[in-house]
Point group: C2
Chain length 479, copies 2
C-alpha cells in the first residue's frame, strides 16, 4: 500500500501538499508556479461553478467575456490599482514575430478593460445597472506558490457591476458577499465569517472590501471570496459617466466580486483529516462509490456482484446522485477503500458474494468510524437522506471547530499566548501602524470586522487607544 499521509498534527503543510497530489486533485506543471488541475479536482470546480453561476443568474447577473490581454497603460489610470498589481504582472512584449508597440499584460483582474468598455456602453440611467460576470483565467506572478492557494495562473469568476447611486452599489456589494456566504455554508459546508476588511487590507482601488473568512483545520484563516465597492474611483479613471434622471452627467458607482480555485484549498483544509479529503456532498464529484468484491477466478460471483452493483448505481443515478462503481482491476478491495477514503467520497458501499447471500450491503460513512450493514432493498431509498445528513454533520463539525478556536481576548499578553491555533476577537484602534506591529510580533493580521457578532467599543488590545469599530474584530494567522 502507498505511503501514508503525514498526520495533520505533525506537519499540516506537508499533509496539504501530499493530499493535493495523492487525491489526484492537481499536479505540478513544467511552468513555474502553475499547476494542472486534474479531472477529480476539475469536477469539484465544475460543481462550484454550476451552483455559484445559478445563484448569480437568479439575482439578475449575466455572463460575458473580456479579452485576456490588457494594454499596460490602462493600469496606470488608477493609481492605487497599478501600485497593487504592477509587481505581479506577466507581460507580452512580442507577438506574431514582432515586438509590440505597447506591451500587453495578462489580466491579473479585469477592472481596467471592463472600465474602458463600460464607458462605451453606459450613456444614460436607462442603461443601469449593468450586472455582469465572467468566468476566466487570470495571472499574478507570485513569488511563493502553492497548489490552489496561490498559483501564478488561477481560475475564477469576476463580477463587475455599475450603478446609479452609492446606495445601490453598496447593496450589490453586500448581496454578493452574502451569496458567497450562503454558497460556502450550504454547498461547501464551510461556516465562514463574513465581514469587512480594515483599510489596510482593502483591494487595490476599493472603498470597501467585504470578505468571507474560513477557518482551516490548523485554525488558520483563509480568505475565500471578496466583494468590493469601488465608489467612483474606476468610473473617474475610465470616464464611465451617464446622463442621470435629472439630465446631469454623473459617474457610475462600481463593484467587483470574485471567488477562485483557491476555494478548493478551503474545502481541502477546512474539512480534511489524517485519512485525506472529506468532500462536502453537494459539491463532491463522487457522492457514493460502490466497491464490488469477488475472487479473481470466480466468474459466477463476479457476474452476480457486478450486476447488483451496476443496478444500485443506475437507481442512484436516476435520483441524480453522483455514483461510481470502482471496476479497476489489479487492486485489492482494501487498497480501493483507502483510495476513496483519501479522495473524501462521503459514502462507500462494499458489496461481495456474502452480502448478496444475506441481501445486505456494507455502508461506510466518511465521517463515522464504524461500518453499517444495510438491507439491499433499503440502500437506494435512504441514500439521498444520508447525503443530506452528511452535509449537516460536516457543517456542524466545522462550526464546532471554528467556535472552539475563536477566543475573545482583551490584553496583548493573552493575545500573544493564544494566537497560535486560534482566531482572536479583539477591540482594535483601526490604525495601520498598530496592525503592522501586531503582524510583526505575531504574524497575525486583521481578517475582518464581522458584519454580525459581538458589539463592543472597548480599547485596542495592542495600543490601548479607543476601538475604531462597533464590534470586536478578528485577528488570525492566514494563508
Amino acid at each position: 500500500m502507498a505511503k501514508k499521509l503525514t498526520p495533520q498534527s505533525q506537519d499540516f503543510s506537508a499533509w496539504y501538499n501530499e493530499i493535493v497530489y495523492k487525491a489526484d486533485l492537481a499536479d505540478l506543471s513544467p511552468v513555474r508556479g502553475s499547476m494542472v488541475i486534474r479531472p477529480y479536482g476539475f469536477a469539484l470546480w465544475e460543481n462550484i461553478q454550476k451552483n455559484l453561476d445559478q445563484m448569480f443568474k437568479d439575482t439578475g447577473h449575466e455572463n460575458l467575456y473580456f479579452p485576456l490581454l490588457i494594454p499596460m497603460s490602462f493600469f496606470e489610470r488608477e493609481a492605487k490599482h497599478v501600485e497593487g498589481f504592477a509587481p505581479e504582472l506577466a507581460v507580452v512584449t512580442h507577438a506574431g514575430g514582432k515586438e509590440l508597440e505597447e506591451p500587453l499584460v495578462i489580466r491579473p483582474t479585469s477592472e481596467t478593460i471592463i472600465g474602458e468598455m463600460y464607458s462605451k456602453w453606459i450613456m444614460s440611467y436607462r442603461d443601469l445597472p449593468l450586472l455582469y460576470n465572467q468566468w476566466a483565467n487570470v495571472m499574478r506572478w507570485e513569488m511563493r506558490t502553492r497548489p490552489f492557494l496561490r498559483t501564478t495562473e488561477f481560475l475564477w469568476q469576476e463580477g463587475h457591476t455599475a450603478h446609479e447611486t452609492a446606495e445601490e452599489a453598496e447593496a450589490e456589494t453586500i448581496q454578493m458577499v452574502n451569496i458567497y456566504t450562503k454558497f460556502a455554508r450550504d454547498y461547501a459546508a464551510i461556516p465562514v465569517v463574513t465581514g469587512e476588511k480594515t483599510v489596510g487590507e482593502r483591494f487595490a482601488g476599493a472603498k470597501m472590501t467585504l470578505t468571507i473568512e474560513a477557518m482551516m483545520r490548523d485554525s488558520k484563516a483563509l480568505q475565500a471570496g471578496t466583494s468590493h465597492y469601488m465608489g467612483t474611483n474606476f468610473a473617474e479613471a475610465f470616464d464611465i459617466s451617464f446622463n442621470d434622471k435629472e439630465n446631469k452627467q454623473a459617474f457610475v458607482h462600481t463593484t467587483s466580486w470574485g471567488l477562485s480555485t483557491r476555494f478548493i484549498g478551503a474545502i481541502i483544509m477546512g474539512h480534511g483529516d489524517d485519512k485525506g479529503l472529506i468532500m462536502p456532498p453537494r459539491l463532491a464529484p463522487v457522492q457514493v462509490v460502490i466497491v464490488p468484491i469477488f475472487r479473481k477466478n470466480d466468474a459466477e460471483a463476479k457476474e452476480a456482484v457486478m450486476t447488483k452493483a451496476n443496478g444500485i448505481a443506475n437507481e442512484l443515478k436516476a435520483q441524480s446522485i453522483r455514483v461510481k462503481v470502482d471496476t479497476r482491476q489489479g487492486m485489492s478491495p482494501g487498497f480501493k477503500f483507502n483510495d476513496w477514503e483519501q479522495k473524501g467520497v462521503p459514502i462507500r458501499l462494499e458489496l461481495g458474494p456474502k452480502d448478496l447471500e444475506n441481501s445486505t450491503v456494507v455502508l461506510a460513512d466518511r465521517l463515522n468510524e464504524a461500518k453499517e450493514t444495510v438491507a439491499l432493498d433499503r440502500v437506494v431509498g435512504i441514500m439521498a437522506d444520508r447525503l443530506e445528513q452528511f452535509h449537516h454533520k460536516l457543517l456542524k463539525r466545522a462550526t464546532d471547530f471554528r467556535d472552539e478556536h475563536s477566543i475573545e481576548v482583551d490584553n496583548y499578553e493573552d493575545f500573544k499566548a493564544s494566537i497560535e491555533g486560534n482566531w482572536l476577537l479583539v477591540n482594535h484602534c483601526g490604525s495601520e501602524d498598530c496592525e503592522n506591529q501586531i503582524q510583526k510580533d505575531t504574524k497575525a493580521t486583521p481578517r475582518c470586522i464581522p458584519l454580525e457578532g459581538i458589539k463592543s467599543d472597548g480599547n485596542c488590545v495592542h495600543c490601548g487607544e479607543k476601538s475604531a469599530y462597533e464590534r470586536k474584530i478578528i485577528f488570525a494567522k492566514a494563508y
Copy 2:
C-alpha cells in the same frame, strides 16, 4: 429607427460585421484583433458548451485544465507543429518585474504541454485510454481578424486522448467528428458535410484531420470543427510511452479535437437573412420573446397586459422554455419587434389590450412572413412543438440551400465558371501543387473528402491525372 442592415446580396461581409455589433453579440476591444463577447453572444456560447460538454461526458470524457503558458522550447520538439504555429505566437518575456530565463508562449493549442504531462501519467496499458478535454482560451496572432471567425484570442474546447493502438485512436477521431456533426445538425440546425482534409490542409503534426464544413448563406464554406489523429508523432516528441500487454514499451497513439467560438460565426452566417440573425431554437439564448403593448398613460391596461405577459412567461419557464418579457421603456413596440427580429429570436408574442379583449395573442415566427392570431388558452400548450418545428424548418432551409449550391463538375472550364456561389464536387489527383494552382486561379481550396457521398474514381478536374480518392471531393471558397 436605427439604420437598416446592408442586404446580404449587396455586401455579405458588411452585413456580417454590422449584425455582430447590432445584435449585441460582440464588441470591438481596445486590444488589436480581440473582441468582447457580450451577454447575448456569450449566452449562445454557454448553450453550445452545455450541450457539447454533455455529449463529451456521455462518451466517457472528463474535463481538466492545463496551464495557459507553455515554455517556448516545447514547441520545438515536434517539427511540423512549430513550423505551423511559430509565426502566430504571443510571447511573455517579462513577469514579476524580471526578464524570464525562458520565454513563455500563450497556448495557441495545448498538444505540447499535454504531451509533457501525459508522459508522466501514462505508465501501463492499464492507464489507457486517457479521454480528457479542456474548455479554454487560446491565442493565435493572426494578421487579419474578424469577430468570431478569426480573433487573436478565442474560446474553445480541446479534447486530447491517448490510446494503446492506432485502431482505437482512429475510432476516437471518427467518433468525435461524428459528435460535432450531430451537434451541428441537431442543435445548430446546420447540415455540415463531414470529411477528411487533404494532406496539404491537415493540422500541423497530424496524420489525419477530419472536419465538419458548413455552408454559409453566401455559399462559402466555414470549417466549424476538426478532429485529428496524430499517430505517434506527439508521443515520440514527448516520450509518451507505456508498458503494453506483452510487457513491451510502446508509444501511445494520440488524438485531438476542437470546436471554438468560430462556431458562432457559422450560426450567424449559416442562417441569417437581411433582417438579421435567425437563432436555432435549441441553442437560442431567448427562444420566445413577449412584447407587451399599451399606451404609456393607461395604467389599467398596462397592469392587465403585464400580468398576462408575466403569467405566460412563467408557464413557459416551467416547461424550461427560455422566455423574456421585453419591459424596456421609452421604445415603441415597432422598434422592439425589429430589435428581436434582428436578434433572431425564433418566436415573438405580441400582447395588447385588444388581444386581451379577444382572448388572443399575436404570434410572429421568425421564419414566416405572416403573423398568426392564437387563442390565449392555447399559446402555452403549442410552444414546445412550435420550437421543434422551427428547428426542423431551419434545418431543411439550410439543407436545401446547401444542396442547391453543391454542383458536380468534371472539367476546369465549368469549375471556373461555377466556383462563385457554389461548392464543387470534383475528382482530384491529390497533388498539393495541383491544389495550389486551383487556389491561385480561383481562390477555392479543397474543403474535404466527404466520408459519405458520391463514389467516383475519374480524372482530376484540373490536371487530368487519376483521382487519388474513392470519392469526389469538395472545393469551395472558404472563411
